[in-house]
């Protein structure tokens, strides 16, 4: 790998690049899905190649190839330089990068069990056993399960002098029970919707989640939702479960703090951002108990946004995004950090694969735990709806107005969890919402959730992001509009 990457940046320099980096990535993936007692998707894939990014004539160029001969790498590096020189035809100023040191390092995330060494038949057995448990519940009409494993072995080399080898092992799994009755569809997912839970861990994650042990309850709740009370339409108090709060963070904090969106360089999928640079260190984003960080360090947890170095050779960092309610930080790279006068990138450049340009991505954007015990929070709540597990999301292209619905809700009355509520939803304005946060549960209920499917860029890249959250309470929230009749 190092021979290929070093050759690439040397060739780029000879061709006129003032800066070059190269990423060799060897990616292996296994995807398994089951549906109503049968195996559905069952695919293994491997992909190896090199991506070469350069600055020449003051502008960016990028080229990639999977033909890893000396001749082909030379040609690819030359193409990257030619592209950069073409980009320079329409530049306002030379690209300026915030300074960064050189690092020579090797890193691998810790894991116990290599999922690729677990026989695929054992993995299928677990999914089919969970599937059977869900379908044992009368009224479950569709049972689905999935597992995904991804190993990324990558080497980064740059003209700064960095040589960084990283190996990342990711695992993920989830199950879904769907119940069709009359004209209504209800569903429950475990441990989360849209693919379940994903983390930078080995097969031990799958075992710890105990899909089979949770399948029956998942199916029962899906069926019970049909006879649950409809979520009322009103303004009131909500308590969000940790996974829903994680997605709320992703959509209403994670995307708007991406500095490429702020600076007008990216608008695909999530649009741009209301967080113009004049708001930095001035905007009261949330209430005083709201503290949000973007933390890529392993110390934060084995999230999908955890690494040792980002894809332009910047070490993993913890950046305060919201500090006691005040907006204090963006997600930046070396170029955008320089553009807004910061002295260093906070290390969020990530690429899906060797053939994609690294772009600013969420790392682990998490809300710090509060002080409340979960039971005490419920006991302290007189009238609220507890909403859990995302069902849908909608947010405008400045990430300011939003509406979410969840799979399930429960009425909280007089400090007690009461009847089940179906079709719960809530909507609001980003800053009003976060300023209405007045209780956050403690570390004991905090989970680093993995979102495996965040799309961005063109060509589109799918990236995994992490979002640590614990249940939290919000006052004066518009409830129940999405399904109002």
């Amino acid at each position: 790998m190092q021979d290929w990457a070093t050759r690439a940046i040397e060739t780029a320099k000879r061709r006129g690049a003032s800066y070059a980096d190269a990423r060799v990535m060897d990616i292996r993936q296994r995807d398994i899905s089951t549906k109503n007692g049968e195996v559905g998707t069952l695919v293994e894939s491997e992909s190896l190649g090199i991506g070469i990014r350069v600055i020449a004539s003051g502008a960016w160029g990028f080229a990639s190839t999977d033909r890893l001969t000396h001749e082909s790498i030379d040609s690819c590096a030359a193409e990257a330089v030619a592209i950069a020189k073409a980009s320079a035809l329409a530049k306002h100023a030379d690209v300026a990068l915030a300074p960064e040191n050189a690092y020579v390092d090797t890193w691998q995330n810790p894991f116990v069990k290599d999922p690729f060494r677990i026989p695929v038949e054992r993995q299928i057995e677990v999914l089919l056993a969970a599937d059977k448990e869900m379908r044992r519940v009368k009224g479950v009409t569709l049972a689905e399960g999935s597992m995904t494993f991804r190993k990324i072995d990558q080497l980064f080399v740059s003209t700064v002098g960095s040589v960084i080898h990283q190996v990342k092992m990711q695992s993920g799994t989830g199950i879904v029970a769907t119940s069709f009755a009359g004209s209504e569809i209800q569903k429950r997912s475990y441990p989360n919707s849209f693919g379940g839970q994903h983390a930078l861990e080995g097969y031990e994650l799958i075992e710890a989640l105990d899909l089979v042990g949770n399948a029956g309850r998942t199916g029962e709740e899906a069926v019970a939702l049909h006879s649950a009370a409809q979520c009322p339409e009103k303004t009131g108090t909500i308590i969000l479960g940790g996974s829903q709060l994680g997605l709320q963070i992703h959509e209403s904090i994670g995307h708007p703090i991406e500095l490429d969106r702020v600076l007008g360089q990216e608008a695909n999928f999530a649009g741009m951002s209301f967080l113009t640079v004049d708001k930095l260190r001035k905007l009261k984003y949330g209430s005083e108990i709201v503290n949000v960080v973007a933390d890529a360090r392993l110390a934060h947890g084995p999230g999908l946004g955890t690494f040792a170095y980002d894809d332009e050779g910047v070490p993993a960092q913890c950046t305060p995004i919201i500090t006691n309610g005040l907006f204090t930080g963006y997600l930046s790279n070396r170029e955008t950090a320089s553009a807004i006068g910061e002295d260093r990138s906070n290390g969020t450049m990530r690429t899906e694969s060797w053939n994609r340009l690294p772009i600013i991505r969420m790392t682990n954007v998490s809300i710090n735990p509060g002080t409340w015990k979960y039971d005490d929070l419920i006991a302290d709540t007189d009238d609220a709806i507890l909403m859990d597990t995302n069902r849908s999301w909608s947010i405008d292209d400045r990430r300011y107005h939003f509406q979410f619905s969840t799979e399930i809700g429960w009425e909280i009355k007089g400090g007690k969890k009461g009847r089940m509520i179906k079709n719960p939803s809530y909507s609001g304005i980003t800053t009003e919402f976060w300023n209405s946060c007045e209780a956050i549960c403690s570390r004991a209920d905090w989970t680093l959730w993995g979102t495996p499917n965040c799309g961005k860029g063109q060509p589109m890249q799918t990236m995994g992001t992490g979002h640590g959250a614990s249940p939290a309470r919000f006052r004066n929230i518009k409830i129940g509009v999405a399904f109002a009749k």
Binding site: S47, D66, L89
Partner: protein, 149 residues
């Protein structure tokens, strides 16, 4: 028992011989040779190898500058095996002997875990495929400078 073996090359490949990007695409005969190397590892009832090689280039503008300008060359090898009426697919872009053996073995192994498909039709077998000429050298040869202008 092996019934049919098929190597299919996507239509895009047939123009590969006349394409001349800075990183040359493989010729159709080179791609066929890869398919044949995979076939020799097959123990499946039927095997299909589909190979696609592409070059793409994309220039993006924002704030009246070119802020992203990229190109890629990518080989995609997809192997489908049929075993006892069951079928599955594995993919790779690696062409060394061990990787080709592994992708074939993966497709065979995964097929055994798929449900049997009643009445699964056999693969078509050797076909005479008409040549499709939808390749425009002028487009393929457009340089980064051409795109920027």
């Amino acid at each position: 028992m092996k019934r049919t073996r098929k190597a299919s090359l996507s239509p895009r490949l047939r123009s590969a011989e006349v394409n001349a990007p800075s990183t040359p695409l493989l010729t159709a005969s080179e791609l066929k040779a890869i398919a044949e190397r995979i076939m020799k590892f097959s123990e499946a009832d039927e095997t299909e190898v589909e190979i696609d090689i592409t070059t793409d280039a994309l220039t993006r503008f924002a704030n009246n500058i070119i802020h992203q300008n990229v190109a890629e060359r990518m080989l995609h090898i997809s192997v489908r095996a049929v075993m006892d009426g069951r079928t599955a697919r594995a993919t790779t872009n690696k062409t060394d002997e061990e990787s080709l053996r592994r992708v074939m073995a993966a497709a065979e192994k995964l097929a055994l875990h798929q449900p049997e498909i009643p009445g699964l039709l056999p693969m078509l077998g050797a076909q005479k495929v008409p040549t499709v000429r939808r390749f425009f050298a002028e487009t393929a040869e457009a340089s980064p400078q051409d795109r920027a202008r």
